[in-house]
């Protein structure tokens, strides 16, 4: 694994201390709110990256899980299962192209490992290239998600729009796959993204490299469509689904393969599955998650929430031009960009003080990830906005003591 960069380390420390100071020992959660032991209420825009996309303990998910225990358990992974089959079929129905085979994992990192191993097996090559936002490429960690020291050299990162370097790498290195998280692209113009992604897809195809898209954060309507790739007409060789598919209730992640990328499975259907991967109870919860995400009312509500924040954050930015220097957004995947990591840290702290939890970017210390859930009410969205406004005022005032340009 690469050395963790200094700013990243600082940020981690700051994040930890902020959370520790706020005494964030969570006692219970409901909807989009968390409650600490002292009954302090926090509005959850952290969402653990989208795991709680439908809110905490969504009543329908709790009910379906509860009822499912009367018929299912984890299931014996050596045998075919109705629940696993149903989820695989449901995923096939809502993914583009010939993405049609699902391998289950019980964690997101395990799903990534499955994707990497598959790519290596199919291409008989080793290197995995992680594409990221040009702004964060220097601090981005290669997506190893492995403790295997021997494999660390086989991971590298590149800016997603640097197709010349990518092609160079394809020519020089033994590249098995390119990994892309659509959330890392939202700072760019979407017409450019589409152009670049289709070019990457073409390059991958030319050089026998698999394209892996990681929709763990962007999927399940968070981008405004079921998958972020739906915005660009991109069909990857492997699609990764995690976090929100669990409903925040039963751990499950999915790797969805095409005929080509799954060719290694032929002949031994159980070699890819772990004891706890694709537990039947998790499959039932995941099926319900997919059903809820596809409801017409939900699709419409996501659009309302996204548009609400598009307008609201634009106005906020107008009020705090020097503080909130950029708003990146696709659907309800939103990033707030501050001038420096200190401002972002102060905002983060002020939001915690005001009872709003957001997420620090792991690759860009000056960025706060702002994750409204797709079922949020108008009233809660408005409440968040009010608090964001106050936190911005406090942050701008404090920063202006040392940096006048950060003020309102």
């Amino acid at each position: 694994m690469n050395m963790i960069s200094e700013p990243f380390q600082r940020q981690e420390t700051n994040t930890q201390s902020s959370i520790a100071n706020a005494k964030l020992a969570i006692e219970r959660s409901a909807g989009y709110c968390l409650y600490t032991v002292g009954e302090k209420r926090f509005i959850d825009l952290h969402l653990d990256g989208g795991t709680f996309n439908l809110g905490h303990s969504h009543p329908e998910l709790v009910e379906v899980l509860s009822q499912a225990t009367k018929r299912f358990d984890m299931g014996n992974h050596h045998f075919p299962s109705m629940a696993r089959d149903a989820l695989a079929q449901a995923l096939t129905d809502i993914t583009p192209g010939d993405l049609k085979y699902t391998v289950y994992a019980s964690s997101d990192s395990e799903a990534l490992e499955i994707a990497y191993k598959s790519a290596r097996s199919v291409t008989e090559k080793t290197t995995i290239v992680t594409l990221c936002n040009p702004a964060s490429v220097l601090q981005a960690e290669p997506a190893t998600h492995t403790s295997d020291q021997l494999q660390e050299s086989q991971f590298t990162t590149l800016a997603y729009n640097d197709s010349a370097s990518l092609e160079q790498l394809f020519k020089q290195a033994n590249v098995a796959a390119v990994v892309l998280d659509p959330c890392n692209l939202i700072g760019s113009k979407s017409t450019d993204i589409q152009k670049v992604l289709l070019l990457i897809k073409q390059l991958c195809s030319n050089y026998n490299v698999l394209l892996i898209v990681n929709e763990m954060r962007s999927g399940l309507m968070r981008s405004g469509k079921m998958w972020a790739i739906d915005h660009y007409g991109l069909i990857p060789d492997i699609l990764l689904v995690g976090k929100g598919i669990s409903g925040g209730l039963y751990p499950i992640s999915c790797c969805i393969f095409t005929e080509k990328s799954s060719s290694w499975m032929t002949g031994c259907a159980v070699q890819h599955i772990a004891t706890t991967g694709g537990a039947e109870l998790g499959c039932i919860v995941a099926l319900k998650v997919l059903e809820i995400c596809q409801r017409g009312e939900v699709v419409s509500t996501v659009q309302y929430i996204a548009n609400f924040y598009t307008v609201a954050l634009h106005d906020l930015q107008n009020n705090f031009r020097q503080l909130l220097i950029e708003v990146r957004q696709q659907g309800v995947v939103i990033e707030l960009v501050y001038p420096d990591s200190q401002s972002a840290t102060l905002m983060f702290d002020n939001l915690i003080t005001l009872g709003v939890l957001v997420l620090r970017s792991t690759t860009e210390p000056k960025v706060l990830q702002f994750n409204p859930g797709i079922l949020m009410s108008q009233a809660l969205c408005e409440e968040v906005l009010n608090r964001l406004h106050i936190a911005s005022e406090h942050t701008a005032a404090k920063r202006s003591l040392s940096r006048t340009e950060a003020g309102k």
Partner: protein, 523 residues
């Protein structure tokens, strides 16, 4: 293989799933309503006109469909009702504004209209499409969102009409989801909608159990009670005109309107002349034996025979074994008493009218009161008279909130043959255990925030001349308020920005998207 989760673990009928389904629709409606509540008067006018016109165009189409699906009523009459509930309704309210602020400089009070939010509307089987039209337009006029629950017997025509009007409204600029329909209504699901905290008000038109359930839901409800209108024909009336009005009313849409006359009360001294006039106008007067046959057919041990609802007079006569001329428009059944033991004095949603001969005006009025005590309290009564003393005495005595004078009661009480507010939701007030005693209209779906200045003359009323009817609150301040965001569901978010030149940077695109979202409200 069917991959539906319901095939493996079906929770769709559980109370939790029903509540969740209701909450999803209501949340979308809430977003839509919040957006729509910021529309100004001309935007609202444009949308309501487009919807009223579209509804009017399909008045006959949906009338035919409703008769075919439910078996109730008459296409021609339902067409008329649909027309009255669309353009007719809009025309009635054309000079009223439920959107703009009012400024009263004399009392130094400003009034700002505040929509209820999300209306949950029950649609009956007897007047399905007219009620859909009526409630949709009421919601749109007042900047409310509405979720509609059609009666299962009229689900298809109602559902289609609702979807059609929703499409027209959205094409005219209304927020997406402002009008929604429950595609498969059932009692537990309807109950979940009625009990949800996201429901601002229930507009309940339908059977008594459903109306009572609405009142028991813990949410505000505007409900109606059953009708059972007595009509008293006094000796001072123009008897020929009275007969014609009664026939026109009782036969209208085969009497499915709850405002139609149920029992005719008249006096000894004019009954012969009135009977002749009634027969001349198209009534068939049953003898004792025929009356018994009609009674037996209409009322079973369990109550009213629902097969007879909205059927025409000759069909009912045939079912009862009574021979009548094919031109018969209504059946009149003489009765000797009014009360629970005489079933023909109860509400009958079919063209059968009880007839009681009273010995005096006092007795007639007393029996009208008696009839309303059985059912129909607070609803409607009719009177045909010229004598002002009788008019006042009758109106004073009967426990209803509308007395239709020298006019057909069906159309008159519903506001289509009188100057009452046109309505398919007739408030039965305190007599009828309802919160509203008037014909329900747009004013019941808006409350007003009143800004009141101090009485002291030193406190001067401001100059609000700039705030005309197209004034929009969000445009008020130079500094953008953070709690009054203009947004809509229309226009995609930044994921699909408009086509732009390469020279346009991301912040320009974002600004353009924001403007587009805002402009969606100004179409």
């Amino acid at each position: 293989m069917n991959t539906s989760v319901a095939n493996l673990v079906d929770i769709s009928k559980s109370p939790i799933a029903l509540c969740s389904a209701a909450e999803s629709m209501l949340e979308r409606a809430n977003w839509a309503g919040q957006s729509y509540s910021q529309f100004n008067s001309s935007q609202v006018d444009k949308i309501t006109k487009a919807v009223a016109d579209a509804a009017y165009e399909r008045a006959e189409h949906y009338a035919q469909w409703a008769v075919k699906e439910t078996g109730f009523g008459v296409t021609k009459d339902k067409t008329l009702k649909n027309q009255l509930a669309s353009r007719g309704l809009l025309d009635h309210y054309k000079d009223q504004n439920f959107v703009s602020a009012r400024f009263n400089d004399r009392d130094k009070i400003i009034e700002l209209p505040k929509p209820a939010g999300v209306i949950f509307a029950l649609i009956p089987s007897t007047n399905p499409v007219a009620t859909v039209y009526f409630k949709v337009l009421l919601a749109l006029m007042t900047r409310n969102a509405v979720v509609m629950s059609p009666h299962p017997a009229a689900r298809e025509c109602s559902g289609d009409a609702i979807a059609y009007l929703a499409k027209v409204a959205e094409e005219a600029g209304a927020p997406s989801g402002i009008i929604q329909v429950i595609s498969k209504p059932n009692i537990p699901l309807v109950d979940a909608f009625m009990r949800s905290e996201k429901t601002a008000v229930i507009l309940a038109t339908g059977g008594n159990p459903m109306v009572r359930a609405a009142y028991s839901s813990s949410n505000p409800a505007l409900g109606v009670g059953p009708g059972n209108a007595p009509v008293f024909v006094d000796k001072s009336a123009d008897l020929n005109a009275a007969a014609q009005h009664i026939i026109a009313s009782k036969s209208f849409d085969n009497s499915v309107l709850c405002t139609s006359e149920s029992v005719l009360i008249t006096l000894n001294e004019c009954q012969a002349e009135l009977s002749t006039a009634l027969e001349k106008a198209g009534a068939f007067l049953c003898n004792q034996e025929e009356t018994d046959a009609v009674r037996r057919y209409l009322f079973h041990q369990r109550g009213f025979n629902i097969e007879a609802i909205g059927r025409d007079a000759t069909w009912i006569a045939e079912q009862a074994g009574v021979k009548v001329p094919p031109s018969s428009k209504i059946l009149i059944t003489p009765i000797q008493r009014i009360g629970p033991e005489e079933k023909l004095s109860k509400e009958k949603l079919c063209p059968v009218l009880g007839m009681f001969i009273a010995s005096s005006r006092q007795q007639a009025i007393s029996l009208a009161r008696q009839q309303l005590r059985m059912s129909g309290a607070g609803h409607s009564a009719a009177l045909h008279a010229r004598d002002e003393k009788v008019i006042m005495a009758y109106a004073q005595a009967v426990e209803v909130y509308r007395v239709i004078l020298n006019a057909p009661c069906s159309q008159g009480a519903a506001g289509f043959a009188t100057n009452l507010a046109p309505s398919f939701t007739i408030g039965t007030g305190y007599f009828g255990r309802s919160s509203v005693g008037e014909n329900v209209g747009p004013k019941h779906l808006v409350h007003w925030t009143r800004v009141a200045y101090a009485k002291e003359s030193s406190e001067i009323f401001g100059n609000f001349d700039n705030f005309n009817t197209d004034y929009n609150a969000a445009d008020l301040t130079d500094e953008k308020p953070v709690t009054n965001i203009h947004y809509s569901e229309q226009n995609p978010p930044s994921s699909t920005p408009p086509q732009t030149q390469d020279s346009v940077n991301e912040s320009d695109i974002r600004r353009m998207i924001v403007e587009e979202i805002r402009n969606a409200l100004k179409r």
